[in-house]
Amino acid sequence: MALPPYMTTTEKVSHYGLRIFVGAVLLFLIAPILAIMPLSFNSETFFSYPMPGFSTKWYFGETGFFTNERWTSALKLSVIVAVAATILATCLGTLAALGLSRSNIPGRAAIMAVLISPMIVPVIISAIGLFFFYAYTGLNGTLIGIILAHTALATPFVVITVTATLMSFDRTLMRAGASLGGAPHTVFFKVVLPLILPGVISGALFAFVTSFDEVIVILFIGGPEQRTLPRQMFSGIRELISPTITAAASVLIVFSTFLLVTVELLRRRGERLRGIRS
């Protein structure tokens, strides 16, 4: 990139200085995530470069991520919990966001504060509160308990995302639908939902990630046999680090890349649908 000829030396120095600094910070952000992935293909049990050989045994070997029973059952449980919590959180959250988007609701700020409180309260406090509550109601160590806990933690993300989408939603479209004879639910499914769908899906993805990554609450309320993927990783790091953890981390990184791309595409589509030009 050619710099304008009128720039002084100081300006040139700060121009390049800024670029070098920013480059270094971006490298700092991405490097740890990228550095971990090749290590998962190491043929030996240590974590430094250069690697003596290439191997996929941490994925498909005896203790591999996709083949070892501990890891596959953890993955399975995580997926079940996350899917269930996402469905619940998305339904509840979208309904609430629709209600909140109507103007002049008395006490809107207070309601909002309650609805997003699971995001605000430090997770350790939520975990202990839920532990006592579940001990009392007999939900500790049950699948339903974990799903409910994850639903509570995930709904704020759905509420916030869908509320934001609804802010730029043109409400006259709903009236148009109603004036053409559409019953409220018809208007919702034929007019509103298609338009806010990108926002709803983003919210659902946020909810999924929240549940899929959650590690503290499960440590408190999960029974000894209920090992979700994060819990399995956590105990793995605490006890004895095996390279399978790098394999698990790599799989999750690929997965989050996929989610990032999806959310980004959805955001653009949503803005196009609602006629916002950037």
Partner: protein, 422 residues
């Protein structure tokens, strides 16, 4: 109809009809919100309130030493209690022995006078063999600690189910013999230090993310959209990667002789630090404060950066041009025209990062050393290792109060529902 009020077909004034329609709208809105609202209140907020109650409420002593607590209420706390109190105490301990609740009594008293747990057990066992008084001598001969007026002051205080004890001790305070509030003895003070450390680490991490994030946000906001979109991936990918995965990455990279140590070796930083005397030999990074701050900064950087970026996107470049055309040097224009406009973003990002840092548990536990445990770690220890619910609730209360105050500020400054998610 002679008045000039507008009416609908059935004759009701339009105003009334509108009000009815609006009320119906509001009712419908509430019906939509209700399921989630009830769900959150019942399955989330009430459990937390009930949990926090443990910080003020502990009925173990009043339940298990009922007669003693009743009699001690009249005791003036100056001289040793009367024979009557000792007799009641002996009777209560005998009952507790049968009900196997002596350990509960001992555990609770032990918080205030260490060693009392075993002494209560021993006293109860000895008293079981004694049939008749005088009880004062019997109890004191079981263990001389019962001769101490302070012991009885503690029993009396612990005897009320509503107790400030846990909250006070979370702030390194206690009630003295006379009931006044004093600082706990020096060797038992830890929680103010923990609180200070939590605030200190959070502040340091927030500063680091600001120093690293501000220039990046500036660059991303001013570069052409195409380039910025590509560079944005570097920020968003870590943001979307789970906290545990990033902590795992740092755990592995920071091992002795691991990738970070290799990097420092190859770039010569190890060598330079050795020459300058900052360290000797290869760096020991894992389980240090440095590792905690490094990993937390990495995890929080996008949270600070993104709000700053979205504010910078809205700042028109013409202001800077105007300042420069009026004769300001680029640096001066940047400092006096550009930076003040980014302050809402800086406040939002820094506050969010600071709040999130306060509750960090996993990262300090995994990459930090034993002396880097933050308040959340102590809550966990009190709960799981010591079984001291009162203490964990009291520490939780302190953490939650700090968090809520900061969120209140955040809401005042920025508005909580405007929080940006990615």
């Amino acid at each position: 109809m002679t008045d000039d009020v507008m009416r609908t077909a059935d004759g009701t004034p339009l105003k009334v009809k509108l009000r009815q329609a609006e009320r119906r709208e509001v009712r419908r809105a509430f019906l939509l919100i209700a399921p989630l609202f009830l769900f959150i209140v019942v399955s989330f907020l009430i459990p937390i309130v009930v949990m926090l109650k443990n910080a003020f409420y502990d009925p173990d002593i009043v339940n298990n030493l009922p007669q003693t607590t009743e009699l001690l209420r009249q005791w003036d706390g100056k001289a040793l209690p009367s024979e009557e109190v000792f007799a009641a105490f002996a009777a209560d301990l005998k009952t507790a022995s049968k009900a196997r609740t002596v350990a509960l009594v001992g555990k609770r008293l032990n918080y205030e006078i260490p060693t009392l747990k075993s002494k209560v057990t021993v006293t109860a066992r000895k008293l079981d063999k004694i049939e008749a008084g005088p009880w004062t001598e019997a109890v004191i001969s079981a263990d001389p600690i019962w001769k101490d007026v302070f012991t009885w002051a503690v029993v009396k205080r612990a005897g009320s189910a509503v107790t400030p004890y846990y909250l006070l001790s979370a702030l390194d305070l206690r009630q003295g013999t006379d009931g006044g509030i004093e600082r706990t003895p020096e060797e038992r003070r830890i929680y103010l230090q923990v609180l200070g450390r939590t605030l200190g680490i959070s502040l340091l991490v927030t500063l680091c993310t600001l120093v690293l994030g501000y220039p990046v946000a500036f660059m991303l906001a001013t570069l052409p959209q195409r380039t910025a979109s590509i560079l944005m991936i570097f920020v968003l990918l870590p943001f979307w990667t789970s906290l545990l995965v990033r902590t795992t990455a740092w755990t592995i990279l920071l091992q002795d002789g691991g990738v970070v140590a290799q990097f420092l070796h190859i770039t010569g930083i190890t060598w330079i630090s050795n020459v300058l005397g900052f360290m000797s030999g290869e760096p020991q990074l894992f389980k240090t404060r440095f590792a905690t701050v490094l990993a937390m900064t990495h995890i929080q950087l996008p949270f600070t950066l993104l709000p700053i970026y979205s504010v910078m996107k809205t700042i028109s470049p013409t202001y800077m041009r105007a300042a420069k055309s009026l004769g300001a040097t680029p640096f001066h224009a940047f400092r006096t025209v550009y930076v003040p406009q980014t302050m809402p973003g800086v406040a939002a990002g820094c506050l969010l990062t600071f709040i999130l840092c306060l509750g960090y548990f996993i990262t300090p536990a995994l990459v930090g050393g034993g002396s880097d445990n933050m308040i959340a770690g102590f809550i966990d220890t009190a709960m799981n290792n010591e079984g001291n619910w009162g203490k964990s609730s009291a520490l939780g209360f302190v953490l939650l109060t700090a968090t809520l105050i900061l969120y209140y500020v955040y809401n005042r400054l920025i508005g909580i529902d405007k929080m940006k998610l990615g």
